[in-house]
């Protein structure tokens, strides 16, 4: 495949927890075209799951709303955007601190953003109170086969 080929999908679904699994499977299927390693697929699924769960639990506080996931592949570079029009985050910096959670009663571990950061190459969070949150994550895929080519 042409390394610089562009391909984009958009998913929009109700903010209900049963759709977390759907979003993971859909995105995992979408990225298979660039031959990611099993570990990379698992990384992307975990990071996506964290972002979608955040949108449902924190963005919409488990009330009605839509979550939009946009995935863009530019060659082997993946960008995943998870967007909600929920309540927004007052203090993004604090929300991103490991173990910080506003919902300990729901047994949220406070590891969501830390996982996104650890499993992806880059993470950006844009949020406005009352307007919603956009999480943008980037990751280069197929690293192993790429290294193989170099040898």
């Amino acid at each position: 495949m042409d390394r610089e080929m562009k391909n984009e999908i958009t998913l929009e679904f109700d903010a209900v927890s049963v759709n977390e699994g759907f979003a993971r499977v859909a995105v995992a299927a979408f990225i298979t075209s660039v031959n990611p390693t099993i570990e990379e697929i698992s990384d992307v699924k975990t990071a996506l799951s964290e972002a979608v769960t955040n949108a449902i639990i924190h963005g919409y506080e488990e009330k009605e709303g839509k979550v939009r996931v946009v995935c863009l592949l530019e060659g082997d570079r993946l960008t995943v955007e998870v967007k909600d029009k929920g309540k927004g985050i007052e203090n993004v910096e604090r929300a991103m601190e490991p173990l910080y959670t506003t919902k300990p009663e729901l047994e949220r571990s406070g590891m969501g953003f830390a996982f996104m950061e650890a499993f992806m190459d880059e993470l950006e969070v844009e949020s406005a109170v009352g307007e919603g949150t956009t999480v943008r994550m980037r990751k280069k895929l197929g690293t192993e086969s790429y290294l193989g080519d170099e040898e």
Partner: protein, 102 residues
Amino acid sequence: MEENFKVIDNYLMVKMPEEIDHHQSAAISERADMFIIHKKVNNVVFDFEKTVFMDSSGIGIIMGRYKKVRCFGGKVFAVHVNGAIRRVIYLSGLHKVMDILE
């Protein structure tokens, strides 16, 4: 769901599902707590044999049960931990409070 919980002596064995995310996590925690409280078990063993995916919701399940049994000197264990689950456990630091049995 019931068949995924079993009490053996002082241990609650919890068979974790194929995918552990926010969708199922509250139900697993509630069920486990019923056993911890009513059957007076001190220790919890999480079995990941069937599990292929876990996000931070799984960390919440384990951490929550750990906090419950710890006050009575109980422990939490993990068995059949595969690569992906292991990474999530280590990244969260859970391996410091939980014994991972091979």
